[in-house]
């Protein structure tokens, strides 16, 4: 793409937070149950996802099957690592919590996973990301044309899945999902625009993250309520729950991108600093008064002249962010968004066990660094 390859974009969320992989082992403590529930939920929505992809023509079906990890690049069955299925899992967990009938939300879960992956395929192309879940991205295996078209096709079958569901709430679910899709696109466009801007405020960066990560998690949670016929207040409560969880999710991802160990992230420590990503802790620090902020501005301004992989140089930047309070600010922000997420559920009538499960899921998503 012709996008300016500015290595020092002022605010970025990457292509959405990297979900922990199925094969990972990072989660522990209170999150263990959530991991298992997401795996159980996968058994419900994954066959329907494959059914949706089967509606595509053979070429697009093969490319989509590769992207999702069940085919290799030659179309042979494969067992590639996939994402955790957080969005469809969340939809099914919410539906289960409200009515005990998660099946009512399966079409919505599939639509969410398809919209998420449509955006990943197009974002990988736009960002020229070469790998996802340790496998080459679609545009690298095929070409730009194929990446554009298979993303388009995934968005189409996402909406088709809802339209074919027979649910009396299919239209309401589509309205919610499409509003989120517009937000998702706004967030990605801002992410790219911000890269070529000299300064971006923390508020602008948070607005971008709300679009790019918050909007789809918001509708993932509310989808489970919409498709089980919940009232407007309940739908709104879960929407807030998901939106706030999404912000916390992204901020934790930003923290892990700097201080996460490779056991947790699969990447070396300081990975986002090595890539010069201006994530939220960085943007906060760059906008801050005082010596550490000035130091980080200088670090970014002069870094192309230095070795981008020098551990001491990266440690210096990380130390400046800590000194400016960027790390603790971001951690506080993440914790505050989790609190707001959980508070949104308080007025909702839920059995204790169901409420506890949603609380554990929130912790699973946002305490990956624990």
């Amino acid at each position: 793409m012709t996008r300016t390859q500015d290595p020092v974009g002022p605010c970025t969320a990457g292509s959405g937070p990297a979900e922990p992989e199925v094969s990972g082992s990072a989660a522990s403590g209170p999150a263990t149950g959530a991991r298992e529930w997401l795996e159980l939920a996968r058994d419900r929505w994954h066959p329907a996802l494959r059914g949706a992809v089967d509606r595509l023509d053979p070429h697009m079906r093969q490319v989509a099957g590769y992207h999702f990890g069940w085919l290799d690049a030659d179309g042979r069955p494969s067992d590639g690592a996939a994402g955790k299925g957080l969005r469809p899992g969340l939809a099914l967990l919410v539906a289960d919590a409200l009515t005990g009938a998660p099946r009512d939300a399966v079409a919505g879960a599939v639509a969410l996973e398809l919209v998420h992956n449509f955006s990943l395929v197009h974002d990988d192309l736009i960002d020229r990301d070469q790998a996802r879940h340790h496998r080459p991205t679609v545009w690298t295996v095929w070409d730009d044309t194929t990446a554009v078209l298979v993303g388009d096709a995934m968005l189409a079958i996402a909406l088709e899945e809802l339209a074919l569901s027979g649910s009396p709430y299919a239209v309401a679910a589509s309205v919610a999902l499409l509003a989120a899709t517009r937000e998702l696109i706004r967030g990605q466009a801002e992410d790219v625009l911000f890269e070529s801007r000299a300064e971006v405020s923390v508020e602008e960066c948070l607005g971008m993250v709300a679009g790019k990560t918050g909007s789809l998690l918001a509708v993932s949670a509310s989808m489970g309520a919409i498709l089980t016929g919940a009232d407007d207040e309940t739908v709104a409560a879960f929407h807030t729950f998901g939106a706030e969880l999404g912000l916390a999710f992204q901020i934790v991802d930003d923290l892990l991108g700097i201080w996460g160990t490779s056991e947790v992230t699969g990447k070396p420590v300081y990975a986002d600093l090595a890539a010069a990503k201006k994530t939220l802790p960085v943007v906060y620090t760059l906008a801050s008064e005082g010596e550490a902020g000035a130091g980080l501005r200088e670090w970014f301004a002069t870094r192309t002249a230095r070795d981008a992989a020098d551990p001491d140089d990266l440690t210096q930047a990380a130390t400046l962010i800590e000194k400016a309070g960027g790390r603790s600010w971001a951690a506080d922000q993440a914790a505050a968004h989790v609190r707001t997420a959980l508070a949104a559920l308080e007025p909702v009538a839920l059995a204790d066990a169901q409420r506890e499960r949603l609380i554990e899921l929130a912790h699973f998503v946002t305490r990956r660094s624990a």
Copy 2:
């Protein structure tokens, strides 16, 4: 995009047939009425299209407004040439013919125009087309990223328009539109794939055209029936009418691409030969036995060594196609598809005036060379 820039693709439909422009003056005779009806229909669907685009964030709204011609590249009001609005016009004409209530199909008309233009924006990017309606395309004014994202956004608001319509037939209309969108994507993918293939049969080329042009015209006609609550037989009849019209439309466009005068097409005569497009008359000839077929195969194999703009060289190719029967075969095919289109309407109960209007529209679409 990384697509191989093979100037001699074996089968292509360009980015769908070029619709006659609003400012054009090519139509005459029986088509005059159809041109006026399409303009009247535009008054009904165009405000709703602008309303749909207004749901986009300011940046995407500006880019979409530029693409549709009501903004210039700086976001100032403009009066750029737009397409004729054949797809939304067809939907409204069919609704009017069936119930006299075209307003029931306005949301569908807007959705069709948005899906058509989502595909144009992405196809312009994929095909690296620099101009559309004599204006620079989105990817040339902005960049590849913007073209990908605004296309995505148009597809999203297309479906959103139906979901927000309140129509009891919104789900059925979405199902039909999304099946056509999958076909549209299949057709575009095949168009690109065929370019790098040594040989493509006439049947394969017709299958590609059915996806790339036929599918959306089919659902344009059936949309007017679906959204007015017509029975399945009527919906199917209009689907066939639109699909056959689409095939005829593309074949006429292929003929005009070779023999059309600049007054009709806005391009020089032999334009598609100068661009080495292997459209249907060309593919037919290349696959044909005899001297003329062999001559055209030789012409294509050796043309990069010659002056691509030499009028004598282009005349030679056009003459070979005529000699092989490619021109008359294509004209016969177009006429046969128009006959099949009109025959599909025979069992449908329509007032004589309404039936006549649809017949005139079919002639308008397919007799632009008259």
